[in-house]
Amino acid sequence: MLIKNIRFLLIIVILVSFNLNAEIIEVNFVYIGHEEHPALLGIKQGIDESNLQGQFLNQKYNLEIISENKIQKHNFTKYIAILTTVKSNELKSLAKELTNIPIFNLTDESNELRVNCITNILHITPSNKMKADALKQWQTKIPDSKANPQSWHYSFKKFAARDLNKRFKKNYKTNMDDYSWAGWAAVKMTSDTVARTKIISAKNMLNYLKTKLSFDGQKGSDMNFRVTGQLRQLILLVEDNKVIAEAPIRGIAKPPTLESLGILNCSK
């Protein structure tokens, strides 16, 4: 019994001294957009989850929020990534200004932004073309389908989507939608990378995300980016508030099936 107690005490001493000695890595995100946007709730959920992981690894994740009209004079050097809901034109000028930092596009679906292949923009939200392709595949089975192609839905249960939906709803008393999923995913893939690689420079983070990412977005296969900067992902087809199918549609899309959705190449 005495030996057991001594061992127990020793463990505590070791743990305490470990915690005192360990340096905490601080990682900062910045969100540019409206405070009421649902994407921000997803971002906050992502930050919470990252800190839950970070407590075991001595990493702390912070979020700053700035509005669109304050961009000009802001110093962006301390951020690991920018998360934004701004539209195409603002997004482009932001990317031109801040070339060595990942800029997550959470809302803009324009095809043009994808074919432009802007090196530091990462599109979490699917392009119009991805969604249209998803619907087209489905319409080969049900030609008059009125389904809506979405990147996320609160009724989705597979691949532990149920768990993410449940904890988001518990925290924010509202359903997770496409934009909040995008915000969550952007933060989560970045903090996962910090945890795995200890990368804390924005430039290296951008490079890693574009070339080596293998992310669990809680919607199936591991996720990564195309050369266009678009996140490869499945698209949910939703009708009457229910997920009725997942594209790529099995038996219709040819392997590699995820490449049957959206734009694959950059314009010359």
């Binding site: 463990i11 992981q53 690894l57 768990d163 293998s214």
Partner: protein
């Protein structure tokens, strides 16, 4: 010499048949039928079906084999069943959404509470909660070392193996592994553990005391989402449930190289081994069946129909 080998083979065969045919039962949770299927180990046929409660998943036996525990996730409870009479003895509250659990040699149950980012420890005799351990998001797999010194809880959305020291019930180390770690198993001495990572399709071998990954292997099939994992009695081979690859992947426990893929039913998740190591039982969720694998031939020798979405399986031998 040849005679000797023949004799040895025959002896082993007889011994094997003898032990495998020992009396006993195999218990299977059927997630969407809300039942437990009871299979006679000798005839490998369904003997009985117990109405157990909503969404039964994790299943296990007390160290003395006198009580069967079933986690009914939707009811937030553990149901205690007499494995002889098949009568429900009692139920106790087991925290939010209990999924899988491990039974410690001292009789306590370590439960992963998926919704709450914690593991809880219960005394199943009294239903009393003994400890609560904060872990990562979506805790899933629970493994108890044979000597009872440590428990591993995997957290799926935090990508970690949390190594918990017992009886203190504090986290000793956190080992970051591939995406969505689902299940873990210790070797006999408790210094090595193996774990599956579903999304990255990996099996990792870790040094538990050093909290380090020793080796990483892949299940070698894009469709495979590895779930349950067990170690052979001689510790030479690991068996991994390949999920939607619809096979059990046999790997060398040292090199983590694939030895064989054994085709079983659809979406194989749960695995259990007979006491002598001669048989493996798999739950095939989408097929609604159990496959019985002969571990000498590494082949399926029988398929048994059970309820909807069989999830967990445990073997009780008399």
């Amino acid at each position: 010499m040849r005679f000797f080998w023949t004799l040895l083979t025959i002896t082993l065969f007889l011994f094997n048949s003898f032990v495998v045919n020992a009396d006993g039962r195999i218990f299977v949770t059927n997630e969407r039928s809300n039942t437990v299927s009871v299979i006679d180990a000798k005839s490998l046929t369904i003997e009985n079906t117990i109405k157990i409660g909503e969404r039964p998943r994790g299943i296990g036996l007390s160290p003395d084999n006198t009580e069967l525990y079933v986690a009914v996730s939707e009811e937030d409870k553990i149901v205690v069943v007499d494995p002889n009479t098949l009568k429900i003895l009692r139920k106790f509250e087991a925290g939010s959404d209990p999924e899988t659990f491990g039974v410690h040699p001292n009789g306590n149950i370590y439960i992963s509470n998926e919704d709450d980012a914690k593991a809880t420890v219960f005394d199943p005799k009294t239903g009393e909660q003994i400890a609560e351990i904060r872990v990562g998001l979506e805790p899933e797999g629970v493994a108890v070392s044979p000597d009872g010194e440590r428990v591993i809880v995997t957290s799926e959305s935090t990508n970690m193996l949390h190594v918990i020291k017992t009886p203190e019930n504090i986290i000793e180390s956190n080992i970051l592994v591939g995406s969505r770690p689902r299940a873990a198993v210790f070797n006999n001495s408790g210094d090595i553990a193996y774990a599956t990572a579903e999304i990255s399709g990996e099996v990792v071998k870790v040094d538990v005391r050093k909290a380090k990954i020793i080796k990483t292997g892949t299940t070698g099939d894009a469709k495979s989402k590895p779930k349950d994992i067990i170690l052979s009695k001689d510790e030479n081979v690991i068996y991994v449930a390949g999920g939607r690859a619809n096979k059990v992947i046999v790997m060398d426990a040292d090199s983590l190289e694939i030895i064989k893929g054994i085709p079983v039913g659809k979406r194989v998740w749960g695995l259990a081994m007979s006491g002598d190591g001669g048989r493996i039982f798999t739950t095939n969720g989408v097929s609604g069946t159990i496959s019985v694998i002969d571990t000498i031939k590494n082949e399926v020798i029988k398929t048994i129909e059970v309820g909807k979405f069989p999830w967990g399986v445990v073997v009780r031998e008399d």
